[in-house]
């Protein structure tokens, strides 16, 4: 069914069709609408979900962990400061191997206070043991959230699916929605392994680990994250076979014979594809790789896809404040270290706090690559200087 939806509406509709057992959430711009619309579904009785309105995001994630431990399929939504306030509980969710699904909307972190898009919120949470998927548009957000339920429950890891704040969350697009029954069949029934409410099989959750066990339990979570890659691939493929929209770890756009390429996440990929098309018409071999799965980080597949390209720019919509480039850059650069011929690489920090990124800025990046202007490791695109 073809519909016009904003990113937030698309995610709320996906949640309606998933019909989770529990949603615990607290509103925050620009993700508020997701649970606002969803709470309407609860009030209207079109879902069976127990909606828990909590007093903070820390409580939201705590309630999600409790409900997931009890054996309920559990979802939430947040953004920016809200995700930051969940920080302590994010690690507990992954450590306890709780398959919680979080609809995230990317927004800059304070300070200075700002409500617009950048990736500093989820990038700040990149090491907390959550699978991360960055979406280009509302369609992908909808499709990914549906896949996320299966990915989380098979890997027994929590997962966040994010869209770019306002650009995608509030921008209306034409997209395809599945039938309710198709989503219901795809996500299936959740069968928790060790639900706390199974009174015939009492368990202990969250026991203390000292020096003698902590490392082993972390090692298990590390392994789960490694295995999650295969699960993301498998479920993306199954989704594609059933519904015609295929999803992998990343999207390659005119990359195969590219001599200059950029790596980018999220909505900026759409803008960049327009520039790639322009350049191709002029006979310039420009390409693009849009990374979708950032955790687990598909470093071998990325190295394969980017090998042979002499000049690569990595675009980061957040900065690590480490004076050595953004998080996507440092990881991609590391992934390419073992290539026999290493490419020239440069990092562009762009779009912080929702600063607009337009065609001319993307053109300037390709122009820098085409003219071998790669002497400076990190550049700042669109900042007044």
């Amino acid at each position: 069914m073809r519909v016009a939806k904003t990113g937030n509406e698309a995610m709320a509709e996906a949640m309606r069709q998933i019909n989770p057992d529990v949603v615990a959430a607290y509103p925050i711009t620009p993700a508020t609408e997701i649970v606002q619309i969803f709470s309407g579904f609860v009030a209207d009785g079109v879902v069976n979900t127990e909606f828990v309105a909590v007093e903070s995001e820390h409580s939201a994630m705590s309630a999600c962990i409790g409900s997931c431990a009890a054996g309920a399929r559990t979802m939430t939504s947040t953004s920016s400061q809200g995700l930051a306030l969940m920080w302590e509980m994010l690690y507990i969710a992954s450590g306890l191997r709780m398959p919680i699904v979080l609809a995230e909307v990317n927004r800059a972190l304070s300070s200075p206070i700002n409500i617009h898009c950048d990736h500093s919120d989820t990038m700040g949470a990149r090491d907390c043991g959550w699978i991360q998927i960055y979406c280009e548009n509302a369609q992908e957000a909808y499709d990914s959230l549906i896949q996320a339920v299966r990915i989380a429950e098979e890997s027994l890891l929590p997962i966040m699916v994010s869209t770019d704040g306002f650009i995608i969350s509030h921008g209306m697009e034409s997209m395809e929605m599945l039938e309710d029954a198709q989503v219901k069949a795809f996500v299936g029934e959740y069968k928790p392994q060790h639900p706390l409410l199974d009174l015939d099989h009492p368990i202990t959750i969250g026991a203390i680990d000292f020096t003698d066990y902590y490392f082993e339990h972390k090692r298990q979570t590390i392994e789960a994250m490694r295995n999650a890659k295969g699960i993301v691939a498998k479920i993306g493929q199954e989704f594609g076979e059933k519904f015609g929209r295929h999803y992998g770890f990343f999207e390659e756009y005119k990359l195969e014979d590219a001599e200059i390429a950029i790596v980018v996440l999220g909505s900026t990929a759409g803008t960049s594809k327009v520039v790639v098309d322009e350049l191709r018409q002029k006979g310039i071999k420009a390409g693009l790789l849009r990374l979708r799965l950032f955790r687990p980080f598909p470093y071998q597949e990325l190295a394969n896809a980017l090998s042979g390209i002499p000049c690569i720019a990595v675009m980061d919509r957040s900065d690590s404040l480490n004076s050595a480039g953004g998080p996507v850059f440092t990881e991609i650069r590391s992934a390419l270290y073992d290539l026999e011929i290493r490419p020239k690489m440069v990092n562009y920090i762009y779009g912080l706090g929702g600063r607009n990124i337009d065609l001319s800025q993307i053109r300037s990046v390709y122009e820098d690559l085409a003219t071998n202007k790669t002497d400076e490791l990190v550049r700042y695109l669109g900042v007044r200087e």
Binding site: G95, L156, H194, I203, H217
Partner: protein
């Protein structure tokens, strides 16, 4: 004792049974030991209600002693024992190690 490899442990730090706290001896954390005077005790069970480590032993609604394997010596039992009764007093563990 050799411990399990990471591959052999239940995931998520789960322990696939309940009540395992009884297997963990916390009594040696104690610096003050509650000494219970059976003669003075009226078995009001205030101490049993308040004890955060379930270390007040009760049988047939009567207090019968203290589980020193798990009592951490917080002293709430002595504090909550009615002033007119004072059946529990806290004594330094050092007194028992002389």
């Amino acid at each position: 004792m050799s411990k399990e490899a990471w591959q052999d442990l239940p995931i998520g730090g789960l322990i696939l049974e309940g009540g395992t706290a009884t297997k963990y001896i916390t009594g040696d954390w104690r610096s003050l030991r509650p000494i219970w005077d059976e003669e003075k005790c009226i078995s009001c069970l205030n101490c049993w209600i308040y004890c955060p480590d379930s270390s007040v032993l009760v049988e047939d609604e009567k207090m019968i002693g203290i589980d020193y394997d798990h009592c951490k010596g917080c002293g709430i039992c002595a504090k909550e024992c009615p002033p007119k009764v004072q059946a529990i007093k806290m004594v330094s563990e050092a007194e028992f190690r002389k």
